[in-house]
Amino acid sequence: MADTILRTDHLSKSFGGLVAASNVSLDFERGQVHAVIGPNGAGKTTLINLLSGDLQPDDGSILFNGKHITHLPPDRISQLGIGRSYQKTNIFNEFSCYENCWVAAQSRLKTSMRFFRPASRLKTVRERAEKALELCGLSRRCDTRAAAMSYGEQRQLEIGMMLATEPELLLLDEPLAGMGSEESRRVIELLRRLAENHTLILIEHDMDAVFAIAEKLTVMVNGRVLETGTVEQIRNSRAVQDVYLGEEEADG
């Protein structure tokens, strides 16, 4: 059997009358890039929020490396090795690029309840922050205030901060959203490199990117899993074609 890193079992979440996730049972394999696609409002971001602890499920359970992480708060989930990036850029605007990654890297200390020595003397944290900056391609922007960077760079920083926490499993919520083609290419390259030694769960609208890096796809519609399979299986799936074609007709 394949090695499952994360499993969701009948995960459900609704907001009032709106069912955002309903009976989502998925297996994510270690070392794979697993993309979750689907039309707007399909519940993809809700799923990520449930996995990262930002939202609590109404029902169902989540197992990470065989352990229950259902109902754990986001900080505990992060400490277990699940990192996430946000669809809407979520960084420290007034901090420099380096300071953003520093805060992220420092979270891997046993505790930050340390009051005496200056933080800047912590070599391990510095190295981790610098490595994350290099990976996300922002080494040159170290001292730039995050708010002063371009949108694409902020998106890169978003990923860099996640990397600085050295996660085993990465939850990426539309990492390419709003990026130019040059920036997109760079980030896709980065994701491909990360895929070599991480597990990625990826939400993305850019289908070219998804088909380029994902090994497995899950299609969600109206909070439900429509189909899960390899890229080929999904491409040829009648049900998936119906959903996407149907949507296009409605839009047109």
Binding site: S52, D54, P73, P74, D75, R76, S78, Q79, R84, Y86, N90, I91, F92, N93, E94, F95, W102, V103, A104, Q106, S107, R108, L109, S112, M113, R114, F115, F116, R117, P118, A119, S120, L122, V125, M161, T165
Partner: protein, 336 residues
């Protein structure tokens, strides 16, 4: 450049403060002592508002508890031993732990309201307790002394000695806060102020950090209240009230001086006390003027009065190419 400005200004200011009693009359030494004590209190509030992003309206309670702890324990004593009295300001730490543990669970407007409610609770408790003097408060007829055997080493009865003791407390508090702000703990709380949600997602259990910050600030406020009680010889519920001398003034100090800096509240304490002494001689409606000044600073100098100093200095020297132009300064027309 900003670093050299600050590294010169602070020692110079400290030197002036150290030398002041040699020249100033005892009235002004007493006034300055009051300012130093208020500065400690404002600095502790700034740790919450300016660094952690916790707008606490109940902070004056810890100031009051520091004062009451001293007054209750020693109201009938003829000698107040400093080594016995000083640890009493830890009562404020304990109160901050309890109040913080509950309040920290809320955020935004709810945090403001719950801390205000706690502050009012303490205020009315002391206001209506006949045991502790009710609204009259408690008088202390002696000031703390530090003695070894029968030899008095530090007698706060002497106005100058008290002044230096308060200055020592302020400098120690400043250095301690500067230290923890540079340490990993400080990085976390400033990040919490900037974006609490993200800090949590990065794996920090933010409530713990907020609570520790709340307790540190409460302890320091307790020390300030202890000093105020010892200095004035009088502790009453107005220490804890949210309008007259408590939290509203402290917030005004932090806003006037500049929040998010440690020296801002110190400068702010000078401005506020001097304004309070000077304005009433102009008009009996001086509080209107005072309020107007606070509002104008909040509007036009959001980083407080201390933000003016680097600006003035940098205008005199050559401006760094990467430093942004002063917001209200003359601007070059943009190219194109």
């Amino acid at each position: 450049m900003a670093v050299t400005t600050r590294s010169l200004t602070l020692p110079a200011a400290l030197l002036i403060l150290v030398l002041f009693p040699l020249f100033g009359s005892s009235f002004y030494v007493g006034l300055l002592t009051r300012i130093l004590i208020l500065a400690i209190f404002a600095m502790s509030l700034d740790l919450l508002i300016g660094y952690t992003g916790l707008v606490s309206f109940g902070h004056a309670a810890f100031f009051g508890i520091g004062g009451y702890a001293l007054a209750i324990a020693f109201q009938d004593a003829t000698t107040i031993h400093l080594w016995q009295a000083l640890p009493l300001s830890l009562a404020a730490a304990l109160a901050a732990l309890v109040v913080g543990w509950i309040s920290i669970r809320t955020s935004g407007i709810y945090f403001i309201m719950i801390t205000l409610a706690f502050g009012q609770m303490f205020f009315y408790y002391f206001f209506e307790s006949p045991r502790y003097g009710g609204d009259d408060g408690i008088f202390l007829f002696f000031k703390p002394v530090l003695m070894i055997g029968t030899e008095s080493i530090l007698n706060l009865e002497n106005e100058n000695t008290f002044y230096y003791f308060a200055l020592g407390c302020l400098v120690t508090g400043y250095l301690l806060l500067a230290m923890i702000l540079r340490a990993p703990f400080g990085k976390v709380i400033t990040a919490i102020k900037a974006n609490e949600h993200r800090v949590r997602a990065l794996g920090y259990s933010i409530n713990r950090y907020k609570l520790v910050s709340f307790v540190i600030a409460g302890t320091l406020a307790g020390l300030a209240g202890f000093l105020e009680g010892a200095h004035s010889g009088y502790v009453n519920p107005s220490y804890m009230s949210w309008h007259s001398s408590g939290i509203a003034i402290a917030i005004a100090i932090v806003v006037l001086g500049g929040m998010g800096t440690l020296y801002g509240p110190i400068v702010g304490a000078f401005i506020v006390v001097l304004l309070q002494d000077f304005l009433p001689s102009l008009t009996e409606h001086w509080q209107l003027l005072f309020g107007g000044i606070v509002i104008s600073v909040a509007l036009f100098l959001p980083r407080g009065a201390t933000s003016l100093l680097p600006r003035i200095l940098s205008r005199r020297q050559t401006t760094r190419p990467d430093s942004p132009p002063p917001e209200d300064g003359p601007r070059e027309p943009a190219d194109g």
